[in-house]
Each structure stands twice: as structure tokens, then as C-alpha cells.
């Protein structure tokens, strides 16, 4: 079984988000970048699935040279090899086209992505890859098992779940529940230095979207405190003042 895991390099979850250049650029000053937490889940599950010599896991990232620390982390967690498509990840379509190109040349049974990246939250790469490769895609899954040449996935739906059986190859976006994120051990960290990390050129893509500006949510006014022994008053305020119940 050959598994391809798409990974992205994102600001750490504790990052306070600010912008520069008249709110047109994300301010990366002092920001620590990490392996996208959902991709970490995808990678961890992929490694579990091939444990005991049942296959290989390749991590792929579309990014410039500054993403290599994150790629090495993926190798330390347990990917067998990694590929970096040397380009700025312009948007989801650009990234999906690069990964699709690589996947066409190297047949994979399963392609995993995180359900979304925690920076742009698009949930788009999995579906776009599915379309570009003309294979099934499932966007947000909570469970993934493999038997023979089929996968069984549990997909989240509003108020419940749906179980699907999908023949290889297919694409899935993983969410919490699919696996516990693996923490690299010392041997993993040592071996990551020498595992293959191939850098390839990007293919040309006509893109369809452009982020032109950012803003942060409007600050809220002062909190209105209700005394604990008069808690019931809160319900009146929510009804008469805030008008939300």
C-alpha cells in the first residue's frame, strides 16, 4: 500500500494573528510555524496503516525552502520519504494541481490531507485532488480503516455520521478521531536527517483566486457582569436586551 500525505506549514495554534502592509500581508514576524495539526493526524494514521512493512508513506508539501523544518518533522514522525514542490502555495487550486501532477506520476492507493489547514481553513485540496484525478474524495472523516484494496471511512455529518466503503484509490481529509498524533522519538529525529527529501519544480497553473486583504474581528464592548447570586437575571438580559432567546 502506497500512501501520500499532503502536509502544510502553518502558524502555531497559539499565534496572535496580525497583518502588515495596510492589512494585505500576514505578519510572520515572531511567528512559529508548525505541521498543520490535521495533517499530523493524517500522517499518524498513514504510518499506523503501513506498520509492519505493509507499505510506504510519502509526505508532500508545496512550499518554499522555509517549510523544510516542517517536512523534516513529518519524516521524524515516520514518513518514509518526502517531496517538496518548490513554489509558494498560491491557493488551494494551485496546491491541488501540484499534488495531482505528482500523484499521476507515482500511483498511490490512498491520498490523505488534513480536513483543512488552520490558516486558510478551505477544506478544498482533498476535493480538488479527487476531481483532478477523477477518484472519490471524502472531505471530513473521523475514522479510517483499510482492508484489502478498500478503505472504510466514517464521515461527519450534521448531527451524526455516515460510514462509507471506498475502493482504492481515493482521497480523504482527516479530522480528530482518525488517530492520536504521533510524537517523534529520538531515533525518528535522527533518521529524519537522512531520509530522502526530493525537491521538484512546480507545474504552471492558472489560478482563480487571490487574497487581497485581511481584517481581524471587531473588538467587543465591555463585559456586563451579573452577580452570581442573581444568576437568573442573565436570562432576562438575554431575552430583553441581547434578544437572543
Amino acid at each position: 500500500m502506497k500512501i501520500l500525505v499532503c502536509i502544510s506549514n502553518v502558524p502555531d495554534t497559539t499565534t496572535k494573528i496580525t497583518f502588515t502592509d495596510n492589512n494585505t500581508q500576514f505578519n510572520t514576524n515572531g511567528v512559529q510555524f508548525i505541521l498543520n495539526p490535521y495533517d499530523e493526524i493524517a500522517l499518524s494514521r498513514a504510518i499506523e496503516l503501513v506498520e509492519g512493512g505493509k507499505g510506504t508513506v510519502t509526505a508532500i508539501n508545496v512550499g518554499e525552502v522555509n517549510t523544510e523544518a516542517t517536512i523534516r518533522k513529518a519524516l521524524a514522525i515516520g514518513a518514509d520519504d518526502a517531496v517538496r514542490v518548490n513554489a509558494k502555495p498560491h491557493d488551494a487550486w494551485f496546491v491541488a494541481c501540484q499534488v495531482a501532477q505528482y500523484a499521476k506520476q507515482n500511483a498511490f492507493d490512498l491520498i490523505l490531507t488534513g480536513r483543512e489547514s488552520i490558516d486558510y481553513n478551505g477544506s478544498k485540496v482533498a476535493g480538488m485532488l479527487g476531481e483532478l484525478l477523477d477518484i472519490p474524495s471524502v472531505s471530513i472523516i473521523k475514522k479510517l480503516d483499510v482492508e484489502g484494496d478498500k478503505g472504510t471511512v466514517e464521515r461527519e455529518i450534521e448531527g451524526g455520521k455516515e460510514v462509507l466503503v471506498i475502493p482504492f484509490p481515493f482521497v480523504a481529509g482527516t479530522a480528530e478521531g482518525v488517530a492520536e498524533p504521533k510524537i517523534p522519538n529520538m531515533r525518528g529525529i535522527m533518521s529524519a536527517r537522512t531520509k530522502p527529501l526530493n525537491v521538484i519544480d512546480a507545474v504552471e497553473v492558472k489560478t482563480f483566486s487571490e487574497i487581497i486583504s485581511y481584517e481581524t474581528p471587531a473588538p467587543r464592548g465591555q463585559v456586563k457582569l451579573v452577580q452570581a447570586d442573581e444568576s437568573g437575571k442573565l436570562i432576562t438580559l438575554l431575552h430583553t436586551e441581547a434578544r437572543v432567546i
Binding site: T13, W93, E131, E158, I212, Y214, G232
Partner: protein
Amino acid sequence: MSVLIYTENAEGKFKKSIFEAVSYARAIADQANTSLVAISIGNVNADQLSALGKYGADKVLNVSNDKLKNFINQAYASVIAEAAKKENANIVVLSNSFSGRGLAPRIGAKLEAGVADGAVSLPEISGDKFTVKKTAFSGKAFATVQLTSPNKVIALTPNSYQVVEKQAAGKVEDFTVENKESDFKAMIKEIVRSTDKVSLPDAEIVVSGGRGLKGPENWGMIEELANLLGAATACSKPVSDAGWRPHSEHVGQTGIAVSPNLYIAIGISGAIQHLAGISSSKVIVVINKDPEAPFFKVADYGIVGDAFEVVPKLITAVKEYKASA
């Protein structure tokens, strides 16, 4: 030219988030001075379909065949993209639901369209420039994205656009598409949907509990308060990590982002990762015994007090309010 709205159903019914999306798509059609076509796939009865006219659909395409009874991402995307081509629709609108998130990128790829996921307001159109505001950085910010392609796909965040009702009925037409065999590779084995609980992503009120509740055995009062308010229950990351509550209830940067009218946080300190997931809530109530909890800084209303004393008082007050209403 026209605008196409995909009206997803759950067990044959449309939810409020779909009426929001139809109203939103109507407003876009008005901006572009064109008509709005809705497409429904699966078994939805004629009354429900024509009622979509009330929210602004001029015409409703009904795709009803056994193979398409349940949601198959690939097949549904083909049907919607085909409908867009036949109806000459250059803008396709969906709800940014779990299924919508699977469909939008596939439809975008088929139509070579720029995709704005998680849209929170109407597009701004000036000349050739078409921009949409969407959530970014897991709710810590918004990004304005320009869609530069002639075709466009927009997935609307639930609870971010008001339902607008009109006096009209949509004309319902049957619509058929020949799907490719390869569209049906994924097979549904089981669907489990609890209809007695409010689903978190489209809930108007959310009651959320954190570590301050001390253990899963104490969730009874959270559920009782939620039931009384018609709310969904949620939790913070440490709570779902500890297995007190399922992951599907985890709200925050690496869980679900919600935008209800009212978010009640009980015993949650307000770490930056949690705040990211709830920042677009309209009204935030925080109940915490620590007056220094960071959550109070973003709250509209707060009670400094022990959840085990405060929540029962709230339950009593809601019961009294409901009895008098």
C-alpha cells in the same frame, strides 16, 4: 447568466442554513440582475421544493432518482456542475456544511471556478472585480478573496446571513443528468443521524462546557440547560481529549468553528485556540469562577461564580421564563 443554489436536504428536509443560503444567493442574483435557480438532489416532496420560492428561487430543479437518494460527493458534484452549465449559471452557491465542503472544491475544479469557502457576507462586485469576505486563521481573522475566474463557487458559513422571506412560489422542474459509472465508486454502508439533538455547526444557541466542570458525570446540567434553550452542546479541547465528550463537540481552532447567536461558555478559561472557534458568535456569555479568566475579555455578559451554583439557577430562570412566555 444566472445564479445556481444547491439546496442540501437532511432526511428529505431543508434546514434553516439552507434558507439562509437561498436568501443569500437571491441577493447575489439581484446584485447581478439575474435569476436564481435552485437544485435539490434526493427525495424532497413537492411542497418543500416549491416553498424554496419563498426565499427567492425563481425555479427549482428537482433531481430525484434512486441512485442519487443519498449523498455521494462525486456524483452530486457532477450533477450540480452539469446543472450550472445547462442553466448558464456562472455563480454556484452552497452552504458550507460538511457535505458542502466536499462539494465546493469538486464543483470548482469542474467549472474552473475560483472557490470562496466559508463566506460571511455578500460579495462586492464592481466592474470585473468580484470579492468575498471569508473566515481565515480558524476564526481569528477574515480574508477578502478576489475570485478572478468567470465562474465562481461560494460556500456560505451557516448563521452568517439572515433568512429573507418573500411572497412567491418557485416553479419546480424535474432535472436529470447521466452520471458516469465512476461517480458511484464510494458506497454508503450506514447513516446514523440523531434527529432529537440540535446539530452543533448550525445551532443558533450553543452551551459549552470546559474543564471547570470537573468530570463527564457533571454534564447533566449542561444538557438540561441546552435542552431548555433548544441549544447544541459543545466542549473545549481538554474535555474531548480527556474523553469526557466526543470529538464532534470540540469547538476551537482544531475542532469545529461555530457562529451561533448565543454562545454560553461554562468553566472554560478561554485559551486563544478556543476563542478562535467561537469569535464570530453574536453574543458570548461566560461563566467562570476565576475573575481573571481570559474569556471575560471577549464576553458580552459574564458571571463570576461556581458553575455548580450558577447553572442550576440559570435552569430555574429559563424554566420560569418559558412558563411566563
